[in-house]
């Protein structure tokens, strides 16, 4: 039997390489086109998934939750591609957007009545601090007076 670590490492490699594909893709085509081609990449896997999983037995509510989840996931994909298209480094944007469980934790607290543990509060604090530090890109621009002198 294959050890679970192998499968986890497989996921890490593919998701990690994907961050590079995302940046290389948005360097060449628009964020909107990337959404279309990424979705096409998912659709390629659909026949395999369909043979392994049937949707029979699922309630309408669960199917609706899954479909809407897919839609918001697609919107998230568009946002990350737009982020990379606007010049974000892959090494900043990918770790930063990987902080989305913070938002999930807040929504689960607000709507599902889940109470974060002390450890999770620590995780939330670290996410906020880490996110703020990652987003810090010092931009060196010339002072307006100097720009004026330059144009004269």
């Amino acid at each position: 039997m294959i050890h679970w670590v192998f499968y986890a490492a497989f996921a890490i490699v593919l998701w990690g390489v994907n961050g590079l594909f995302m940046k290389l893709g948005t360097n060449r085509i628009s964020a909107r086109a990337m959404v279309i081609w990424v979705t096409a990449g998912f659709v390629v896997l659909l026949p395999f998934l369909w043979t392994a999983a049937s949707l029979s037995g699922l309630t309408t509510g669960v199917i609706l939750a899954g479909l809407i989840a897919g839609t918001v996931n697609g919107l998230g994909n568009w946002a990350i591609f737009a982020c990379l298209e606007k010049g974000a480094k892959a090494s900043v944007a990918i770790p930063l957007t990987a902080l989305y469980p913070l938002c999930t934790a807040l929504l689960a607290t607000a709507f599902l009545g889940e109470r974060p543990s002390v450890l999770q509060w620590l995780g939330i604090a670290l996410a906020l601090a880490g996110g703020a530090m990652l987003s810090y890109e010092p931009s060196t621009v010339r002072a307006p007076e100097e720009q004026l002198h330059c144009t004269q």
């Binding site: 279309i36 982020c83 880490g130 931009s139």
Partner: protein, 143 residues
């Protein structure tokens, strides 16, 4: 004289928007996965992504970018995410989610390393510390 101007870059707005949408995705997945298994959820996610892709196609009036490199990376991105997710589900069959999810949450380390090697991207010291804190929080929040 060079001056630092603190400003909120456009890319950061999109990053925050992405965190929001993926956060909602995680929330809805939480609700759906109480009944549906991961593969069923993956089928529903894929079907749910189609309207967004179609809306983008309509917005572009069918004029898709024809850059072969871009198309290849786009397709590879979708396939890598999907197949990676299957690997994640396979790991979940043999180990608890409280162990597998924090481990797989470390994938940004590889992206940062590849961006350093392939794209020649460099992080400043503060961003390096930020990445370490972010990784620690990803692991903690995934438990």
């Amino acid at each position: 004289m060079q001056t630092d101007r603190r400003q909120f870059p456009v890319w950061l707005w999109y990053a925050l928007l992405c965190i929001f949408w993926w956060g909602v995705w995680g929330f809805l997945s939480k609700i759906g996965s109480n009944t549906a298994n991961p593969l069923q959820m993956q089928v529903l996610f894929t079907l749910g992504m189609l309207p967004v892709a179609l809306a983008m196609l309509v917005q572009m009036r069918g004029n898709l970018d024809r850059n072969i490199g871009g198309i290849t990376f786009g397709l590879l991105s979708g396939i890598a995410t999907g197949v990676g997710t299957l690997g994640y589900y396979a790991a979940l069959r043999n180990q608890n989610a409280s162990i597998v999810t924090p481990v797989t949450g470390l994938f940004p380390v590889l992206t940062v390393l590849l961006a350093f090697l392939v794209l020649r991207e460099r992080l400043n010291k503060l961003q390096m510390w930020g990445m370490l804190l972010a990784l620690a929080s990803i692991v903690i929040l995934s438990i």
